[in-house]
């Protein structure tokens, strides 16, 4: 599976404007994040299956200045994803999904995956 496909799937969900459910919005945020995470992980050749999120962000944050900014962007999307997947009392609707998608797209483009 190409991780970017997660992004494309999230875009398809988002494109269905008739579906305004929070479940879809949360799923969109989550897939948008995973697309960015996995592409970023693979770009650094990270193979660990333990603490993958932390390790990936840390690898970027420990790198060049540009990498540091990528690490921050990725962690921002992770914050959005944690909210979407764990904070059920917090609003997560189309707006949040759209933001996650845009941020994921931005990161995927910087990583050369889009």
């Amino acid at each position: 599976v190409n991780p970017v496909d997660f992004y494309h799937q999230a875009v398809r969900w988002f494109a269905d404007s008739a579906d305004q459910t929070s479940v879809t919005a949360r799923s969109t945020v989550s897939r948008a994040y995973y697309a960015a995470l996995l592409v970023a992980r693979d770009a650094k050749g990270i193979t660990t299956t333990q603490d993958t999120h932390r390790v990936t962000v840390a690898r970027y944050k420990g790198g060049s200045a540009n990498d540091v900014t990528i690490g921050n962007r990725l962690d921002m999307i992770r914050v959005l994803r944690v909210r979407a997947d764990y904070e059920m009392t917090r609003t997560c609707v189309r707006r949040e999904a759209g933001e996650a998608l845009k941020r994921s797209r931005e990161l995927l483009m910087k990583l050369g995956a889009l």
Binding site: R54, K61, M76, E106
Partner: protein, 236 residues
Amino acid sequence: LSIRLAALRALNAPRLYNGLQETNFPSQTTSLNDFAALVGDAASNDPGVSVTFSPGGYLTLVGDEITYLSNDWLQSEYALSTAGEYFPPGVWTPFFRVPAIATAFSLTVPIATLEPWHGYVSPLQTGVGGSLASYTTLAAEGPMAALVAPGFMIAADVSTNELLLTRAAQRVFPQATFASAVETDPEEPWRRLVLYVRTGIDDLDVRMGLEEKFYADVVQHESLTAALRDITVMFE
């Protein structure tokens, strides 16, 4: 004696300094629209001590019997801070004390008065030891506020990295408000400080465009790059 006030991690509990008894420092988080400095006042017979916040970018402290931590300690603990272009070495002395601490006082200066200050120096958190019993502000004029106390202890507990990033974000988002929290990841043993920049900008394209300016600053300035390694900045 000119001292630049900055440094010291907001997340860490206050420590012992030069034999000073640690107390429950009433660490105070400012709104970033305020600059808070808490100064302990010693009811001793020490000569008058003044603290001046001047437009030149320094916290100037004048007085006798002032002890402070060595630059060696600071540089070992906060090497990143002193390495930055905004923090020339030799002006770091965030903790001072004089004996016979009896009372303390606090001062809050609107951040507007700090605009003439150099670069990214603006404390987020400060703390003070000793009891907070009384305070005296002798002058607060325009961009300069002066405190005079008959001897005092001051302990500034400030997250330098947080300050740096806050100031950098504030340059890009002047209307932003700020908050920070130590976020614990729900899936992994991972805790990190997240600085939330509430930009007040709903248009995501506009916001993300401005974020690019922030990141450009980060890439350009080593001190900001170093700060962003340890803190996640979340634009909202």
